[in-house]
């Protein structure tokens, strides 16, 4: 088990395409880190650089004490689970799982014991003599995990391992991977584009966009205090609502004006242009003294909640609200939405988070 450290790591393709730019990240020993971001953000490239499948064009990657930039994948003592599983089609499950151990020169007895232990842990003991093509997607996924586990590696690398599974199986395997990782305590870097996986599995989330690091924090913190507008919009489903606003001092507080609304809040920020963000679940319909007047466009019941897709009465901005399932308005209803000042996020013109401190309004607006 080992720490994984990336210092100012960059990856440039063909001299002009920058896939990863100056990435600094330390994954602690035994930690489960999920790297998340939209397609093309450089997350898989980062993982493949740690694996040694891609060369590093700038910076340094270390596993444990050793800088591994020039170390081949064979010599890194890592294990990787691929999106496609990459099981050897002509080998049985047992042969697939024992391949690495045999190459490492382990004895027959040792190989058998370790493969059978791992198979038991993953509940695939009865599949050991089957070929991959005889297995379902979920079973193949388990075998791929098994192949990683038996090697007793320093680091687990997982490249979107659940994206080929159906929704139910995905949820199940999510818990299972977490359980296994906790049991084994192996440092794990897990790449996904699915923010639910990131939120539910990670000790810390690493959010990338355009090859640049956006935030590294525990899931709750990424959700509650996003570093910037990108993180705010990426984490959380449905996405945060954003409004372009102009803020001016007013009555000891700040007056926010946009084409869709204007209101004064007891906060203390410098005057200027901002992006104001509120999560759909933080919007309360028909709240006394609400701020944003809207008209219901679509009501989407998902059982536990209802998602409301609304248009602002002025300015025709789209707003999404997540409300209790009992609250089910009809299309065309007029609703005034409000939110707590605590739940408001503000981002400056550069997209960075602006801390909001509350003040007492001198005259309630």
């Amino acid at each position: 088990m080992s720490q994984v450290r990336l210092s100012n790591v960059s990856k440039e393709y063909d001299g002009d395409i920058l896939a990863v730019e100056g990435l600094d990240l330390t994954v602690d020993d035994g930690e489960f880190v999920v790297v998340v971001g939209p397609s093309g953000c450089g997350k898989s490239t980062t993982l493949r650089m740690v694996a040694g499948l891609e060369t590093v064009t700038g910076g340094e990657i270390a596993i444990g004490e050793n800088v591994v930039n020039d170390v081949r994948p064979q010599d890194r003592n890592i294990a990787m689970v691929f999106q496609s599983y990459a099981l050897y089609p002509h080998m049985t499950v047992r042969e697939n799982m024992s391949f690495g151990l045999r190459l490492a020169g382990e004895g027959d007895g040792e190989v058998r014991d370790r493969v059978e232990d791992a198979a038991e842990m993953l509940e695939i003991s009865e599949l050991l003599d089957d070929l991959p093509k005889q297995l379902s997607g979920g079973q193949q996924q388990r075998v791929a995990l098994g192949r990683a586990i038996v090697r007793d590696p320093d680091v687990f690398l997982m490249d979107e391992p659940l994206s080929n599974l159906d929704a139910k199986l995905r949820t199940q395997m999510r818990t299972e991977i977490q359980r296994i990782q906790e049991d084994l305590g192996v440092t794990t870097v897990y790449v996904t584009h699915d923010q639910t996986e990131a939120m539910t599995m990670a000790d810390r989330i690493v959010i990338l966009n355009d090859g640049k690091l956006q935030q590294v924090d525990p899931p709750e913190r990424c959700y509650d205090e996003p570093n910037n507008e990108f993180v705010a919009g990426f984490i959380g489903s449905p996405s945060m609502n954003f409004f372009e606003v102009t803020a001016t001092d007013h009555d000891g507080g700040v007056r926010f004006e946009s084409p869709s609304f204007e209101f004064t809040l007891g906060v203390d920020i410098p005057s200027g242009e901002y992006t104001l963000g509120v999560r759909p679940e933080d919007l309360t319909p028909n709240r006394e003294g609400g701020y944003v007047e809207t008209v219901v466009d679509v009501v989407e019941p998902v059982g536990s909640d209802n998602f409301l897709y609304l248009q602002t009465a002025r300015g025709s901005s789209e707003v999404v609200a997540r409300v209790e399932s009992e609250f089910r308005p009809t299309v065309g209803d007029e609703i005034t939405l409000g939110f707590d000042v605590d739940d408001m996020h503000l981002f400056g013109s550069d997209g960075a988070r602006v801390p909001v401190s509350q003040t007492q309004l001198t005259d309630s607006a």
Partner: protein, 312 residues
């Protein structure tokens, strides 16, 4: 009629009815393949049957009189030393030729798949030998191996490997090797292209998974490439075996089967006996034996390699 007989009869009837219904349902398909089937029967089926028939007759090429001799030709063949020598020479020709083409083809394919500069150029360039008429390649190799004017001797002399020019194609001990080299040169590109296509269908992530599992390049070749390429290698070597077995133009152009018949194969001998010496019946009998040998080989080969129930 007993009950059992009756049951059998109705069983047969219903099976017959089923086939009839099947034909009726697929009438259009049968109609569409009919011309090809007729053509095949005419150009493949009929000659095979005719060769079988001819092998039972004494039939001089310049005569219209055929004398039925039964299996006499076969008895003569199996009692002659020539036949066994031909078998050995044919086996040697096929085994060394196919092995050479397969190994070289594999080597070239593996390297052409790699990320090398000028890959497209090499891919095209390596196909050239296959595109040149075999007889012309054979003439070129006859020149290369010429004892006085050939490049091969000149190079070997320059390097000091030999002290005086050797006539490879005139030496009964090594002439067959001189011809095999030409055949390998001609046949390798086909193997390389087929193998390259096979290699390109192997998913890259298998190699990546293997590398992470600790597999060196050799291990990857041994445990990923070869098993994944098995069915392609099987089909390519089977085809190559058949083509090499029946190949005529390279040997005929380079040596005409000589010296003292040491480069003659079954096919060369069939030509000499049947068409040059005009003994059509005996030539036909040799052809039938060659045909059966190839058939046997193909059946056994496919059986052995598809034993695990794998489909090609």
């Amino acid at each position: 009629m007993s009950l059992a007989e009756e049951r059998t009869q109705t069983g047969d009837d219903s099976r017959l009815a089923q086939s009839a219904a099947h034909v009726k349902r697929n009438r259009r398909a049968y109609l569409l393949i009919a011309p090809a089937a007729v053509f095949l029967v005419a150009v493949v089926g009929y000659p095979i049957l005719e060769t079988f028939r001819l092998s039972l007759y004494r039939s001089p090429a310049d005569s219209t009189i055929e004398t039925f001799v039964g299996l006499q030709h076969y008895v003569d063949i199996f009692n002659s030393d020539i036949f066994y020598r031909l078998l050995w020479q044919t086996g040697r020709w096929v085994a060394v030729g196919v092995a050479g083409k397969t190994l070289l083809g594999l080597l070239i394919a593996v390297h052409l798949k790699g990320d090398i500069r000028g890959r497209k150029f090499f891919r095209t360039a390596f196909l050239i030998p296959w595109g040149i008429p075999y007889a012309i390649s054979a003439v070129v190799f006859r020149w290369i191996e010429h004892p006085q004017f050939g490049y091969l001797n000149a190079i070997l002399l320059k390097l000091g490997v030999i002290e005086q020019g050797i006539g490879i194609l005139g030496n009964p001990d090594i002439a067959w090797l001189g011809v095999v080299v030409a055949d390998i040169w001609i046949g390798t590109p086909f193997m390389a292209i087929i193998f390259l296509a096979g290699l390109q269908s192997i998913p890259q992530d298998l190699y990546e998974a293997a590398a992470i599992d600790g597999a060196e390049r050799w291990h990857q070749f041994r445990y990923i490439t070869l098993p994944q390429l098995k069915s392609v290698i099987l089909m390519a070597t089977l085809l190559s075996t058949i083509w090499t077995f029946v190949s005529f133009d390279v040997i005929w152009t380079m040596t005409g089967g000589g010296p003292i018949s040491t480069t003659a194969t079954l096919v060369i001998h069939i030509y000499q006996v049947g068409l040059q010496n005009g003994n059509l019946g005996l030539g036909a009998a040799y052809s039938v034996i060659g045909f059966l040998l190839l058939l046997l080989f193909a059946v056994v080969y496919l059986r052995v390699y598809t034993r695990g129930g794998e489909e090609l």
